[in-house]
Symmetry: C2
Subunit: 195 residues, 2 copies
DNA sequence: ACCTGAACACCGTTCAAGT
DNA sequence: ACCTGAACACCGTTCAAGT
């Protein structure tokens, strides 16, 4: 039978985009290489030309999600505000792609180091000493991981909270301020920008 | 052919134990119902008599892990010490069962509510007001989730930490004390047991 | 060079059939 | 009642064959 092979112009980026789109609809668990190839209008083997394995594809998707959430900090921007916004961006994106959060954190070479770096940088630029940067950064990084990983909506609902996003953000402030137990004047002095 | 069916005495608990054992060896990803049945010396169908689905089995394993980590608090025990130990117990168990952490948190009806409850209870018994209990509890819960989920060893190594377990524990103290930014006398007053 | 589609070795799940 | 093992519908991955 005569059958012409159309030049599809497939690319790794196109595959990642389609994968994230599909994940947004059905979640990571139900993503299959066959379904993905079908959506791309391409045979199964074609997809495997650009992506060595499903695992690798998911890693690429995780990285893509982080890249999409990333916005460089403006020089005149408060570092802590910036961290807060970065985290909420990632939070929203991960929530739009069910199952990616769990995947992203288990392969923590993806976003964790960069996030931790950004957090540490912003903390030290706010005037904290190295020791405080380390400890606060540690707590903040794990807090973010937990808040972003856990379906915080469910957990927070169980705790009587009805606005997850606001509450997660409040938790960030809590940590950045060194905890609610701190008297006001202390936290203000510590958080106020130095420049 | 003559073939006798031996009474195996299979049970749900035996299946969970074997599953956790297997997970400890190969991780959640490579656990298969066939391999599990083989280890139990039982046919595939037999396992499905006691466990409706693989998903359900994993949920049961998550709960079993939490139950194993749980130790009731002694009346004369410092509530915060108890929380710290509980968390580290769970931390160790999850680390011994690769992939369970990610699973446990995604199905957060498993351990999160009880952990959050235990945390909140111990915080209020230490003398914090309801508002502080909520905020500290929130942060602590997500921190624990993150610390336990993330392969903290890798992340901490990237941050120049060489003893993950101690560092995770230190993070708990950091939160319980309301952060390192707190002057000593404040944290001591806040953390000192009331009784 | 790029793509197809059949094939392989596995899954999770079900269910008639055995004792 | 409890268990078996074959069958079904899917996977991820590979690779000869086509253009």
């Amino acid at each position: 039978v005569a059958k012409q092979t159309i030049r599809v112009g497939l690319s790794r980026d196109a595959i990642i985009d389609a994968a994230l789109e599909l994940i947004g609809e059905v979640g990571v668990d139900k993503l299959s290489m066959r379904q993905l190839s079908a959506r791309l209008g391409v045979s199964l083997g074609a997809t495997y030309r650009y992506v060595p394995t499903k695992e690798a594809l998911l890693a690429l998707c995780g990285r893509a999600l982080y890249d999409r959430s990333y916005r460089p900090r403006n020089l005149d921007e408060d570092p802590l505000d910036w961290v807060r916004e970065e985290v909420m961006n990632l939070y929203d994106l991960l929530r739009e792609h069910p199952g990616m959060a769990g995947y992203v954190i288990q392969h923590n070479d993806l976003v964790s180091p960069e996030l931790a770096m950004a957090v540490a940088e912003s903390l030290s630029s706010v005037g904290l000493n190295p020791s405080s940067v380390r400890k606060t950064g540690l707590v903040l990084t794990f807090y973010i991981a937990g808040a972003v990983l856990t379906d915080s909506g469910t957990v927070l609902a169980a705790m009587g909270v009805n606005d997850p996003r606001a509450m997660v953000s409040a938790g960030i402030d809590f940590i950045l301020r060194g905890g609610q137990l701190v008297p006001d004047q202390v936290s203000k002095r510590a958080i106020k920008r130095t420049g």
